[in-house]
Symmetry: C2
Subunit: 339 residues, 2 copies
């Protein structure tokens, strides 16, 4: 291991976005005098009659949820994107805008109000994975939809307004900023080398074993060299697959196992239901050749050194670059110890 990376300020390059993260390892020891987050370690009931995501309950628009047993998907009652909104564009000097259409869905991971992915068995998580595959395909088949963003906001600190285990799927006509960056970087590498940049990176990491947390036959969980959040991780398929619908047979269960392993480790780290936003980046559904894409799932958790102290991405990070203190390599060691 290059020890300079553990001792001196430096920046690391994100091969997928083309951007940099500033790392200041010596700063990990500064005392914390700022805001502490409230932690709720309250034990929730399996069913909450006031929860609009629990089975058989009525949602705000009057619809009644079915008595679902595994997963349940519905169109977001307050969708940020809609299929029937007007199309228009503004091209007025330096004011440029264009309408955007799409479909936003909510996916309940389990009827059990008290659970999170970390509490679910891999075969239960597999039901979620199978639904993600179905949604990716169905939404992608819609002519209006060229990209499908699957994500989860977990925990009040991540803006999640209901603790019932659920995620979201926002699908739309154009590629969002982050996807556009990854599309460009992956395409450039693929055109030049005729292989996936993430696959090549994965091979390098598997050889080094410095940032690997877990692997099974089909997936690797690692902290990418360029991770921004203190305990950011990524799940990468070993095979070059452009999107999640390419997972076959036991691969969906192996992916579920990887999700289970990392979310359980997170919960142990600070002995709390670990907040994060997670998301799957994968090939657009625009009907073009997307062989350069290698899909992956990332977890961006905000906690820094305890259940109540988070990393703030504020002033310098907003105006300059993301910045971290604890290195990816130190974070890997902490997470590995919890498996």
């Amino acid at each position: 291991m290059n020890t300079d990376l553990q001792d001196y300020s430096h920046k690391r390059f994100n091969i997928l976005t083309g951007e940099w993260v500033l790392v200041s390892p010596h700063r990990a020891k500064r005392p914390w005098q700022g805001q502490n987050e409230a932690v709720s370690n309250e034990v929730r009931p399996s069913y909450d009659e006031s929860c609009y995501l629990c089975a058989s309950n009525t949602r705000i628009n009057g619809e009644v949820n079915p008595k679902y047993e595994n997963v349940f998907v519905f169109t977001n009652d307050f969708a940020a994107l809609q299929t029937d909104s007007k199309t228009f564009s503004v091209d007025d000097g330096l004011l440029k805008a264009q309408s955007e259409q799409g479909i936003c869905k909510v996916i309940c991971f389990s009827p059990d109000h008290s659970k999170s992915l970390a509490d679910m068995a891999p075969n239960e998580i597999e039901q979620v994975v199978l639904e993600w595959q179905k949604q990716y395909q169905e939404l992608g088949d819609n002519d209006l939809i060229n990209y499908v963003q699957i994500f989860e906001n977990k925990g009040a600190v991540m803006g999640c307004s209901n603790p019932h285990p659920h995620g979201q799927i926002w699908s739309q006509t154009t590629l969002p900023n982050e996807v556009e960056k990854k599309d460009t970087q992956q395409r450039n590498y693929y055109n030049e080398h005729k292989k996936s940049i993430l696959g090549t990176y994965l091979a390098q990491e598997l050889e080094k074993q410095e940032r690997i947390i877990f692997e099974n036959d089909a997936f690797v969980v690692l902290i990418p060299f360029w991770a921004v959040w203190p305990f950011e991780t990524m799940i990468v398929p070993k095979k070059h697959q452009t999107n999640i619908s390419e997972m076959k047979d036991e691969e969906t269960l192996l992916f579920a196992e990887a999700i289970s392993v990392i979310t359980k480790a997170y919960d142990k780290l600070f002995n709390t239901s670990f907040p994060y936003s997670s998301g799957i980046h994968q090939a657009p559904t625009n009907g073009e050749d997307n062989s350069h894409w290698h899909w992956h799932m990332s977890f961006y958790p905000p906690l820094l050194r305890s259940a109540t102290v988070k990393k703030f991405m504020v002033g310098y990070e907003m105006f300059g670059s993301p910045q971290r203190d604890i290195t990816a390599e130190s974070a890997v060691k902490m997470l590995r110890n919890l498996l």
Copy 2:
């Protein structure tokens, strides 16, 4: 005014970064069931003996603050960047890193522990502006420093660990991500049109008067067309100036007045000491021709609809694009009414 922009989902283009923001105006009405922030409306004393930024107090490293009367600047005791750290680079397959050196300073805006910029008179704020100019020049004259980032994190919710009025200055060898983007966009326009893109945009906004909050002889405060945060604003000099050291004579006081006007309006909006990160983007100090730069100061405040309800930039925003509900034009009206 184009009413489609107030009614239907669309994305707007940020001419300075080349990125998009998703706007969903119809969504502003969804109910909030998520986390509320703690608000502290506690009245602070003018002097706090436990504050390491108050005059004459001792800091963590044993140094004693002078009995300062206006502003006071010192090198950050836990600097993320240092001048004496080792230089090195890593170029190992897909792992790319390079050392980064720099100087991080803290600037106390006033000896009065109880104040914020919003409580200070324009002539007091002018002292801060004059110190920013001095720091920009001094740091920029250092061969090691090619960029100077001035910023403030205000409020516990923005990761600020001490309520004493203060900001920071992180200066470094290379350009951070956000500055790199603005450098490219401004350069491209300048090369093609031989004038500043921000100046051209400003002229367009002054004609439309739809997003202007305030103006004096030298500065305009507006909500940019592509604003991300609910009440994001920008202060732009009317003259084409590449950096803050070009402000002359009464311009420093007029800039202080603009800061005073917007921070006071913010505090009135939700009747609370309004949290934000603010920052000045300006020409690098790399000795190159930076005529394409037009400096500006931005405010990124997190609050959405009350002192306790903030906008979360999470799942979709982290993996896709920033997203907002309330439009820039609605936010302008609310702020204008408070002047």
